[in-house]
Every structure is written in structure tokens, then in C-alpha cells.
């Protein structure tokens, strides 16, 4: 029998930035841990277990938890590292949830981070995507980008791979590149209201984004995420502990969660199966399961805000549809009428999202932490949405779009 789990605290290391030459990896992580603890009355010894994670390959430190355990107070306690590519942060969070929901522990800390100035993210990405690259060799592409290779599925690293999805999305939604420019501008201006966001552009406009050069059509430089350094820590507790700590008011309950996997070929290449990278069948399946678990019947009405993982701006239009928050093909229209803005009817990424801040191992967890902060009413710097948030959904994707995680947090726990 699973137990209810509450998020009681969120801590960031500080503002996420592109370079932190002044610290090493453990020193980057430590302030997030201290800040998460500092918002509670808990002491380091109160944390019973840790789940931590970042992207494999990116810093070349393949057991970073061995290096950093003292810095997150983990020595002498159970520490589990989780690395699942782009979904890492969400997987870390979900594993921490299992620690508590299972009854094994009452107080657990989840930590996600990335320090991207220590390696080359696009090279690191090759190491991550290699299993998929080998799969794709069967379908023609080579490693050399100038021949439309796997190295970028046609230039521009991961942006190349995302371009096919963006093309398909625009066609399905009868939208144009201007919609991607518009949502990108919204994200960067949202980021300006989030003191922890990396690329903060107050009042960023569609025209500002449209000035940036094309990488692989329809994706421009202004549609892509930065490479950031940053860390997030969250404290999860059981329902009985939440009551004991007197913390049932400003917490976010984990009401539903799930993940799903397809594979890069069935997602993109094999005729007779799903050949459309914008279909995202798995996301729909997982979202539906999560909503059922959370007792949500109509996500368009019962969920007030979403934090979706979008390395590329067209995805900020696509994911809300696949998560069932918006009717399929209707995101451009919703965007145009202001529904996705912080004060709109379905705010998407009030934090500025991943296209504004991407410390990869933290990113999918930041979606959950930001959703939790919205529920708790604690989003700082003007990015708290004005509506009362009963439920918020957080999403992550990884691989070549074939891994998906969805987490739903809310103000009231599900009756167990």
C-alpha cells in the first residue's frame, strides 16, 4: 500500500548561469542542499536517504555522488544515483518518491544538477545518444553531420533531431515559425520574472527571437535551450511526518506520477508504426495514467499550470497538447489569445522553462520543483501565477523524444 508523499521544501544553488569556473561539482551542489534545508527546521541528520543525479557523460565524472556525498551530507546514509538522460531530474524525483511512498523512509532529499562548463554538452550528448545512433545507422544517416548524419540528424547537434519534430508539429497544428518565435519570446520574458533563470530577457518579443539565425529549419538559435550550471534540491516526507512537522499548509502533495518508453525507431522511422516524432503517443498514455492516479477527470479544468520540458521552443506548444491540457492542434491559438502567459487561463512554464534554463540533470526535476512552488504559492520574483493552484503538472523527456515522465502535484493529498 503506497503512502502519501509531500514536498516540503525546494532549494536552488542560486541563479543558473552558463559558467561557474569558481567552484567544482560538489561546491555547486552544496548551496542548493543548504537552501532546501534552510527553509525548514530540519537538520542534515534528519534526512534519512538521498537520491541524486545528473546526466552521464556530460562532465566525465561518472560517479559524481562519490565525490559530492560529503557536500550533500550523505556520508553514512543510503545514497542512490539515478541517471536516465534528459529525464534524469524527474527520475531522481520519482525514485525519491518511491523511497517515501514505499514506507522505507520518512524524510528523503532529491538532488539534481549539471555543471555544463566542464565538458562539451554536444559531445556528451553523442555519448548518450549513441545507442540510438547505432539504431539509426540502419536507416541511412552517418555520423558526419555534413551528410545529414546521426551526429546531429542533420547538423546543429540535437537541434537537428528536433527539427523533424518541429516540422511535423507545425504541419499538424497549421502553425508557422512565427508561433515558435512567439512562444520562445514568452519563455524568455517569463524567465526575467524568475530570479533563478539563466536567460532572462524582460519584455522579449517575437521580433527579438526572429532576428536570431536559423540552425535547422524551422528551429532558430532563439528557439534552443542554453547550457546551464545549476542544482536543485527537494525534501520529500511522508504524510505522518508532514503532520508531525506541522507542515500540511504550504506543501505540495505528489498525487500521481509515471513514466514511459518507446524507442527511437518506432517513434520516428519504421513504416507501419508511428512514424511521426510529433505524435508522442507515450506522453498521452503516461499523462492519462497519471491523471487517473491523481483522481483528475478533466485536466483542462482541474490543472491550473504546467511546467513542460522543452529543449526547443516548438515543444512548448506540442507538450501541453500531448499532456491533454489543450486540445490537439490548439496551442498556437491558445498562445495567441494569451492563455499560456503567467496571468492566462493555462500558464505554461511561468519559470521560463528549459529554453531559458537548462542544467540538464536538474531540468526535469526543476519542472517538478517549479510545479510544487506554484502549488505552495512560493514562486519568487513575480512568476507565481495569480490563480490559486489546486493542481500542477510537470513533464520531462529524454533520449530522442522516446522517454517521458509526468508528475502531478497538488494542494490536497489523494485519499489513500
Amino acid at each position: 500500500m503506497k503512502r502519501n508523499v509531500a514536498i516540503i521544501s525546494v532549494g536552488y544553488n542560486g541563479r543558473f548561469v552558463s559558467k561557474r569556473p569558481d567552484v567544482n561539482i560538489p561546491e555547486l551542489i552544496e548551496p542548493a542542499v543548504t537552501n532546501a534545508l534552510g527553509k525548514t527546521k530540519l537538520k542534515p541528520d534528519d534526512i534519512q536517504a538521498y537520491v541524486v543525479g545528473n546526466m552521464h557523460t556530460f562532465e566525465g565524472v561518472n560517479g559524481p555522488h562519490l565525490w559530492a556525498s560529503d557536500h550533500f551530507n550523505g556520508s553514512g546514509k543510503p545514497v542512490m544515483r539515478v541517471a536516465t538522460g534528459g529525464t534524469t531530474g524527474a527520475s531522481v524525483f520519482q525514485a525519491a518518491y518511491y523511497h517515501v511512498a514505499s514506507g522505507m523512509y520518512d524524510v528523503v532529499m532529491a538532488i539534481g544538477w549539471e555543471k555544463q562548463d566542464e565538458g562539451d554538452s554536444q559531445v556528451g550528448l553523442v555519448g548518450i545518444v549513441l545507442p540510438e545512433a547505432f539504431t539509426l545507422f540502419q536507416f541511412g544517416p552517418e555520423m558526419n553531420t555534413e551528410r545529414g548524419g546521426v551526429g546531429g540528424l542533420g547538423g546543429g547537434g540535437s537541434t537537428g533531431g528536433a527539427s523533424y519534430q518541429a516540422m511535423s508539429y507545425l504541419s499538424r497544428a497549421h502553425a508557422g515559425i512565427e508561433h515558435i518565435d512567439r512562444i520562445a519570446a514568452l519563455m524568455r520574458s517569463n524567465a526575467a520574472k524568475n530570479p533563478y533563470a539563466h536567460l532572462q530577457q524582460p519584455g522579449c518579443t517575437e521580433a527579438d527571437i526572429a532576428k536570431t539565425p536559423i540552425i535547422t529549419y524551422p528551429l532558430r538559435f532563439g528557439h534552443t535551450c542554453p547550457t546551464s550550471c545549476g542544482a536543485v534540491a527537494m525534501i520529500l516526507v511522508s504524510e505522518s511526518k508532514a503532520k508531525k512537522f506541522g507542515l500540511t499548509d504550504r506543501v505540495a502533495w505528489v498525487k500521481g506520477l509515471g513514466s514511459g518508453t518507446s524507442d527511437p525507431t518506432t517513434g520516428n522511422f519504421v513504416e507501419g508504426q508511428i512514424t511521426d516524432p510529433a505524435e508522442q503517443h507515450m506522453c498521452k498514455v503516461v499523462a492519462k495514467k497519471v491523471y487517473t492516479m491523481a483522481g483528475i477527470k478533466d485536466p483542462t479544468k482541474e490543472i491550473q499550470v504546467a511546467e513542460v520540458y522543452s529543449g526547443f521552443s516548438h515543444q512548448d506548444l506540442m507538450w501541453p497538447e500531448r499532456l491533454g491540457l489543450v486540445k490537439e492542434g490548439k496551442s498556437p491559438e491558445m498562445l495567441d489569445k494569451g492563455a499560456f502567459a503567467i496571468g492566462g487561463e493555462m500558464p505554461i512554464n511561468p519559470s521560463g522553462g528549459v529554453t531559458s534554463t537548462n542544467a540538464i540533470g536538474a531540468s526535469a526535476m526543476v519542472r517538478v520543483s517549479e510545479a510544487a512552488l506554484q502549488v505552495m504559492g512560493l514562486a519568487e520574483g513575480g512568476h507565481q501565477i495569480p490563480m490559486k493552484v489546486e493542481n500542477a503538472v510537470a513533464h520531462g523527456w529524454g533520449g530522442l523524444f522516446q522517454f517521458v515522465t509526468v508528475t502531478l502535484v497538488g494542494r490536497t493529498p489523494v485519499k489513500s
Partner: protein, 148 residues
Amino acid sequence: MPGETIKSMVPITFLYRNRVGQALETYIDGLKDKKILGIKCPACDKVYVPPRTVCGCCHKKLDTYVEVEQQGTLENFTVAHVTIEGGEIKDAEPYVIGMIKLKGADSLLSAVVKGVAVDKVKTGIRVKAVWKEETQGSYSDLAYFEPA
């Protein structure tokens, strides 16, 4: 065919620049001045050499640097018969590598020990640091230890 060597390979080169951190940077700067720096925990008074920014025992942040003595005790050792250069293992004349507890430190420092025969070395002997004549701010500035 099974059993035949596959000739086609995917070449990938990775380059990383892992920062050593604030405390180790300070330690390395100290080596340049022929000083061995540690850091003291305000809670348990332990002195870590080389320094680090957090005390793993009491979860305190550390920022009080202290210089420790350049002499200490050989606490443990092994006799190496190889060296590793650029990832490659090479045969070498047997030499001593030891774990040294410097006076004023609560942690062990790993270093080469010279001036004592490999068949005569034993734990408990007193050793002292020997520096390179010209230091440059690198681990190798502290060249080796020898009997004090």
C-alpha cells in the same frame, strides 16, 4: 561473420575540464609557496589536508585555512613496481608510496617516500617534505617525503 574482427568503428573524442574546487585551488597556491595548507572544522576541530569545503563528519562548511607542519608519520605504505604515465603502465625500479599523517593534520596525505630502502621501510617512521627547487603551483611541487 561471427568471430571476424569488425573494421568499422565510431570514433568519439571527449574532452573535460573538471575544476578542482575552491579549497584545492588554495592548497595548490600554497604549494607554490612551499606551504602545506589544511582546513579546520569549527565544530569538530579536525584539520583536513588537502583542504575541502565541507566537513563530512559534522556537515559544516569550512573556510578556516591553517598551515600544517611539513613533518609527520608514515601510517601506511606500499611498494610500487610500476608507474603510470599518460594512462600507460610501465615497469619501474621498486619505490615506496605512503600515507602520511602530518603534524597538525587529521587526514592522511599520499606521497612518494624516498631515502629508505624498500625492504627496510616500516610504518611509524618520521618523514619530512622535500620540495622541488622551483615551484610552479602544482601537485608535483611537493616532490616527495624522506626520513626526517
